[in-house]
Symmetry: C2
Subunit: 228 residues, 2 copies
């Protein structure tokens, strides 16, 4: 029974990869670079996007696909930035999927203005486990880890930290008020994904936001793809 | 195909409930009260347990079942409290389950000293979606929501907030440093689970820990079961 379950899961991930490749072909056809942005709930994905995309990225038209179990709270926030934002809810699936998969993204493709954007940011459901297992057809993956979550998160959720090309260490402004050792957090990050690109950021103070904007710009113009 | 998926999920949840009832029978047989403790990653479940269980609960012998994708970091911390702690990892399942289910807990039963404890706290995997969907055979559910996660979490993860008898609002000490409106968070909590018991706590300062200890004591001695 255990083997059967493993087999079902492997089949599901195979099927997902097939659809992810189809998504990727469609994105490539429209010359759209796609970023899969992940984190735990409340780590600050949306606020970071508000800060990073508040001003246009030079020569890069950005769109956002918002993944949530229910509601459109984040999409409503980002729509205020006058970017094209598409909401994708996972609760029609069943009780509510804890992650986006390639098929959900595929179902959203007709609603995405692919001809009018250069960079699509997909904000995944807040979760450090399953989103890392499902490719969506993205060019790159980034994750947000808030310092408030503690130093041990890379060790406890290694697949997530390993699968990303960029790790944003967020809420840096709170560090003086926490019993959290940033060096230990970065040490643990290097233990699971040695040398991965990381940015220390604060959506509140704006620290690191210029660097994030530069990374997004380079990603969209082809200089930061494939983890470079 | 969509219907098929829904059917598979319904069958899986039915099967889970059957095993959860068997777990519950075993817990009842040993007169052990069981609490399922859930939260997002890094909300502070383990630190709260360290604070709340650092001193013995009068007349209540406590054991802990630690659920994690990988590793035993939290179990190692709690073992320092000289409580019986059993580690349950979800990664043998496949790439790593994002939640505990009744069958995983069942597989851990032989390792649990049920005859020597009165209260078993099951610390679930850090995730605000799937843990709420899988009953483990518990008497009560509690969740931890850190104020650092923002006011909107009850609205975005309503099933989790709805399925708990107690909501611990944690990291209260950080509130002065956040742009988070506690009243709005509590308003949103009441929107999805009106009047649910809640405690404002800080594992750092100890605020609310006595009340949490009292709640645990009443749960174990039968006065706080079933959401009373």
């Amino acid at each position: 029974m255990h083997r059967t379950k493993v087999r079902i899961v492997e089949d599901a991930l195979d099927a997902n990869n097939t659809i992810a490749r189809a998504n990727r072909d469609d994105f490539d056809h429209h010359d759209v670079t796609v970023l899969n942005l992940m984190s735990a709930p409340g780590a600050g994905k949306t606020t970071l996007l508000e800060r990073a995309l508040g001003e246009p990225l030079e020569g890069v038209r950005v769109g956002v696909l918002e993944g949530d179990v229910q509601g459109s709270y984040d999409a409503d926030r980002l729509a205020a930035l006058h970017l094209p934002v598409t909401q994708l809810n996972t609760d029609p699936g069943f009780g509510g999927e804890c992650h986006l998969d390639a098929n959900m993204v595929r179902s959203a493709l007709p609603s995405l203005p692919l001809g009018e954007i250069d960079l699509l940011v997909i904000e995944n459901v807040g979760n450090l486990v399953c989103p890392a297992e499902f490719r969506l057809g993205e060019d790159a993956r980034a994750m947000v880890c808030s310092v408030t979550e503690g130093e041990d998160k890379p060790l406890k959720y290694p697949l997530m930290f390993r699968s990303c090309e960029l790790v944003l260490i967020n809420k840096l402004d709170l560090l003086p008020h926490l019993q959290v050792d940033l060096d230990r957090l970065l040490y643990n990050l290097d233990a699971v994904n040695p040398g991965v690109r990381r940015l220390l950021v604060s959506a509140l103070t704006g620290d690191g936001i210029d660097e994030l904007r530069q990374w997004l710009h380079e990603l969209a113009t082809g200089r930061a793809r494939a983890g470079v």
